[in-house]
Symmetry: C2
Subunit: 343 residues, 2 copies
């Protein structure tokens, strides 16, 4: 995407400490760059806070993003920061409505890079139909941050009748994943390592709100939704299993995997079960709805590769996998460091 | 404050990258340290988001905190992160209810320092009566952040009848400040420069929600409230003046100033009008309520030094000050860098 700097900035201009002083330069940065690039995705409150009017129950969530590199195939830190928080709201059963945007910028960041990132924030907000209503900008000295860190917090409304929580996980639940796993993790890692494949492996970074609404159009009787980000499907399933005290069994042969990602995992020695996804949902629901929900998910471009991958089988907090060779192994929670700064 | 590390951590233990991996070590950090130290100020949702039920209108705000040093007389980055967001909610006319807490930690941070910071978060949340309901923790490599950055986002409820906004600023409004100015700025700066005075200059870092409720107990007809943080009273007044298009005149002789802070400003060559406050409100209101509101504010320990400092005098976006020598000067918005990383 070709991004041009808003005047009077040019391609060599950089962020300086005074952009974070709270004075005139801060104001210019906020108005001439951030608000101007956000366009209609930003609602100005002329306040240090926004006034909302959400009837019923609200969902509230936050994430800080420190991904490196800032730009990767399929997205960048701005695109990720919006989608990550949108997807956390979705996993509460909410319709995402409002977002805060808080930037910690390292002195010396190119203003053109900032403009690129903010353009991606606007693009993601447009796609997810969410508005940015409040924010904050800080600048720290060179060497005291890594280019830019972004925090987004999100607020959404939860329609009546939706109770989505790991505590709802019940024996007999069928588990669906909305598409291929490990795409984001491999995209970041191969970019970072400078590995090249026939075609670049793209992150799956996308908003899941439309898929969620398709799911709820079938039934509100959904038990758990979780986006398997940092730590991957293995960590997400373990968290759900330990919170609910339920046994989960998945089938390795049912895990959707892009062949390129599979190949990259083999080359680099990574288990795709532990790699991050940024545009996938794990959905736990009563088996009687599974077929119709699966069809609904597959009707969406982001859900074409959705699969049933397992079910909830008992009252013990453990995650197991039937492997390709027919044995059963325990899927542990990741213990050490696999991939730092993946999101 | 003597803080001991929760077992099994000891005083030499440090944060490692794996604490941010989303796996078992992340879980331990979150449960054994963060949630355990937050105690009853934390409400667990077992989710990546919280479900709230706030009737009527909601206020929503965010701030990232990058203050250096982390610990200063009168507070630390954790205490500041809660109070800063509480006070932004207050300035929307809201009762602060829920907070998110997002940490970006540099590898190598002492776990004992993290525990100190989180203890202060809990202390501030207790005083302000706000609950932490969702959060996030990231770890970045040594040299890629500066010990710890904290983002808090806040949600509050706005009682009916309160419309607080810079757009409400009206000719004839009286302007009250709830206490002495520049305390936070001078506290940070003198700590940073290693200056010592007869007694240390303490930051005014405090939650303003009780004072706000005292103000609203007199009348809901309050026009503007603003906490003059980064950029100080001068920047806050300029923002209000430019948003509303109104002329503001303040009297230098009415500005409450701790004599120690005044002396430090003279020694270091700073204008207290531009220095940050973290426990003060500027209140714009119709003159007829000014006396009763001033008394209400002064009845609170944090409001003993409240003063009327000026008024709104016309339809031109400009801020002026009657100086001690009797002349009138324009109070400009700060242009360059005065104090980086003050909050």
């Amino acid at each position: 995407m070709e991004i041009s700097c808003p005047k009077p900035y040019n391609e060599y201009d950089k962020i300086v400490l005074a952009h974070g002083s709270g004075g005139r330069l801060s104001n210019r940065l906020i108005h001439d760059i951030i608000i101007s690039v956000l366009g209609e995705t930003y609602i100005d409150s002329a306040h240090d806070g926004a006034v909302l009017d959400i009837p019923g129950k609200q969902a509230f969530t936050t994430d800080s993003f420190v991904v490196t590199p800032l730009f990767f195939p399929g997205g960048d830190i701005g695109y990720l920061a919006v989608n990550g928080t949108v997807n956390d709201l979705v996993c509460c059963g909410a319709r995402p409505l409002y977002l805060s945007l808080s930037l910690i910028i390292e002195e010396g960041l190119l203003i053109s890079e900032l403009v690129s990132v903010i353009s991606s924030v606007a693009k993601a907000a447009r796609i997810a139909g969410i508005k940015i209503v409040t924010g904050d900008t800080k600048v720290v000295e060179k060497g005291k941050a890594d280019k830019i860190f972004i925090n987004t917090a999100g607020v959404g409304s939860i329609p009546e009748g939706r109770i989505i929580s790991p505590h709802q996980c019940a024996e007999g639940d069928v588990i669906i994943i909305t598409g291929t796993i490990a795409d984001h993790g491999i995209s970041i890692l191969s970019t970072r390592e400078g590995l090249s494949f026939d075609s670049p492996i793209r992150s799956d970074c996308t908003p899941m709100n439309e898929i969620a609404e398709l799911i709820f159009s079938v039934t509100n009787d959904i038990h758990v939704m979780r986006d398997p980000t940092r730590g991957g499907v293995a960590s997400a399933l373990n968290e759900i299993s330990h919170t609910s005290g339920k046994e989960i069994i998945i089938n390795e042969s049912d895990l959707p995997l892009n062949p390129l990602v599979k190949g990259a995992c083999e080359i680099m020695g990574f288990d795709p079960l532990y790699l991050a996804n940024e545009g996938k949902l794990l959905v736990f629901l009563p088996g009687k709805y599974a077929g119709r929900v699966l069809s609904a998910i597959r009707s969406h471009p982001y859900g074409r590769h959705a699969r049933i991958i397992g079910k909830v089988t008992g009252d013990e907090p453990i995650v197991k996998m039937k492997t390709l060779v027919g044995s059963t192994r325990i899927v542990e929670m990741i213990t050490g460091e696999q991939l730092p700064r993946i999101c």
